[in-house]
């Protein structure tokens, strides 16, 4: 049977069956946020080691899993059991928030990219039927002095293709690690009306602008857990059993990674542990 049927099943899994894993992380930011912007912790050094991006180009999209450098390693569940997040304890040396994700796939693109992503940026390996992921654009090489505007064509959570995002515009001179669109867009690139997620991305269209300087990535991620850090270096906790009873599913081979939302322009160090368990 997949999943936990009640609290007793969780206690039994932890205590009798020793099915809990604690995944320690310690990442020192390679990138400094600006107040009110998100940065990726993918390229931060520490535990796990720094991740990297595929070679820039429309033909180089790659899927990610727990063996990808930069992912937090863990042991997969044993079928038919399923793995769930029980909670997170962490602190940040800077006030802000973190988002932990399953990084499904990524591609690195030139700032003036325009064309078909082939093979597609494909998140389906760890998405259930009817489930979609979110798109994040992160600067990987500092952008040039002028902004460009794009739309992205994707397949939505239901498998319906030819869906198109609203236009989004990059931020001129945006530095490495930060979100490529203006901070007002937030972390995720907005989707076509009615869509809840993205299963794959087929193309990106440059609709205005021509600045060729810089690169950005498209990260296709499944958000798992948010944790706020309201006081610098004071630990915060998230319990996903009773406090926020959502028992976030962590699929086998998930590429666990994080982003940080800064309230100042200083890079942070994140230290903590994610607790997962299978039934």
């Amino acid at each position: 049977m997949a999943g936990f049927s009640n609290l007793d099943a969780i206690i039994n899994a932890i205590s009798v069956n020793s099915k809990k894993q604690a995944l320690t992380f310690q990442k020192t930011g390679a990138n400094s946020p600006a107040a009110g912007t998100w940065v990726t912790m993918w390229t931060a050094t520490g535990i796990p080691s720094a991740g990297s991006y595929p070679t820039a180009g429309l033909g180089n999209a790659a899927t990610c899993d727990s063996s990808t450098a930069g992912a937090m390693p863990f042991t997969n569940s044993t079928a038919p059991a399923t793995m769930h997040m029980l909670g997170v304890d962490a602190f940040s040396t800077q006030v802000g928030s973190s988002l932990f994700v399953d990084r499904l796939a990524h591609v690195q693109l030139a700032h003036n990219v325009n064309g078909t992503i082939s093979p597609a940026l494909d998140g389906t390996a760890r998405l259930g039927t009817g489930e979609g992921a979110q798109l994040i654009a992160i600067v990987s090489v500092t952008l040039g002095v002028a902004a460009n505007t794009f739309t992205i064509t994707y397949t939505n959570q239901d498998g319906t293709g030819s869906r198109v995002t609203p236009s989004f515009t990059t931020t001129a001179n945006q530095t490495v690690g930060k979100t490529a669109p203006a901070s007002s867009v937030g972390l995720f690139i907005p989707l076509q009306a009615g869509d809840t997620g993205v299963r794959s991305v087929q193309s990106i269209a440059l609709t205005s602008g021509s600045n060729a300087v810089g690169n950005f990535t498209l990260d296709l991620v499944r958000p798992l857990s948010y944790i706020p850090f309201s006081i610098a270096s004071v630990g915060s906790a998230r319990d996903h059993v009773l406090e926020l009873p959502n028992l976030v599913r962590v699929r086998d081979s998930a590429c666990l990674a994080s982003y940080f939302f800064g309230t100042a322009s200083t890079a942070t160090t994140l230290v903590g542990e994610i607790r997962i368990a299978e039934n």
């Binding site: 007793d8 932890i14 205590s15 450098a69 042991t75 006081i231 630990g235 009773l242």
Partner: protein
């Protein structure tokens, strides 16, 4: 069957036998810097000072509950001992983030120790299950001098694969007794793909001639506890507040480590009450 199969099982056990209490008291000098790690191990007043291994590559020893400095513990025999809750009152003027660790083994070296092999190795395997690893924590045992040193270690990872190498880590000038010598974080970053350490075999000084000594230990983090207002008493419930029921192995060498939040110097007193139960 050992362990708790349900919450009722925990209640039944509490009704039929007393929980085990482990009271800890440590008082140590503090030179705190925000976000810097520390280990409440070597301090003495009010409790036993933590044993400091003989200086040098030949002085590595395993640690257990009988090691001076460890919080007292009664063996659970063939059953399992779980941490139900922890209480902490600390007297400093700064806030704290605490991590309860099982100190598996340690060695002490000069921070300018010449390259060589630990003989015997720093061997943590006595309380590590197959496929499990601890983390490498470093604390200052004799205040560091001016300048900085950079070093790494070779180790055997959680899977038993040897000749793995940590990232280079650089010390901070004048790091104080009990503190981590690093600017941020508590643990040595491991080689990409590794999630733990079973033993440490080698030491490599990459650069520097700083004075002072450090203790290198392999620890297993067990539980987090935050004291957001100094001098108040805080408790963490590991059944309902943070559903994790940390497993405490027989003969575990328990002590607190963590992160300073406020700066300053002085004397800090840690008063701890662990509530454990055999299932």
């Amino acid at each position: 069957m050992s362990g708790f199969a349900s919450y009722q099982g925990i209640l039944d056990k509490l009704n039929s036998s007393l929980e085990q209490r482990s009271i800890g008291l440590k008082q140590q000098s503090m030179t705190a810097a925000t976000g810097v790690g520390f280990a409440a191990w070597q301090s003495a007043s009010g409790g036993l000072a933590g044993a400091v291994p003989t200086l040098g590559l030949a002085g590595a020893t395993a640690c257990d509950s009988s090691t001076a400095g460890a919080m007292p513990l009664i063996s659970a025999g063939s059953n399992k001992l779980h941490l139900l809750s922890a209480t902490m009152r600390e007297s400093s003027t700064g806030l704290q983030t605490f991590i309860l660790v099982d100190r598996l083994a340690h060695a002490q070296v000069a921070v300018s120790q010449a390259n060589g092999s630990f003989s015997p190795a720093i061997d943590a395997t006595a309380r590590l299950a197959s496929g499990e690893g601890g983390l490498i924590m470093v604390e200052v045992s004799s205040a560091l001098g001016t300048g900085t040193n950079t070093f790494n270690m070779t180790y055997t990872n959680q899977a038993g694969t040897g000749s793995r190498t940590t990232a280079d880590m650089t010390t901070v000038a004048s790091s104080a007794l009990n503190n981590s010598p690093f600017a941020a974080g508590l643990y040595m970053p491991l080689q990409a793909g590794d999630k733990g350490v079973r033993s440490i075999e080698g030491w490599t000084l990459t650069s520097g001639s700083q004075t002072g000594n450090i203790i290198i230990s392999i620890v297993k983090p067990l539980a987090w506890l935050v004291t957001p207002i100094s001098t108040f008493t805080y408790e963490r419930n590991y059944i309902f507040e943070s559903v994790s029921l940390p497993l405490v192995h027989n003969a575990a060498c328990l002590h607190w480590a963590g992160f300073w939040v406020g700066g300053g110097s002085g004397t800090v007193t840690f008063v701890t009450d662990l509530k454990l139960l055999v299932g």
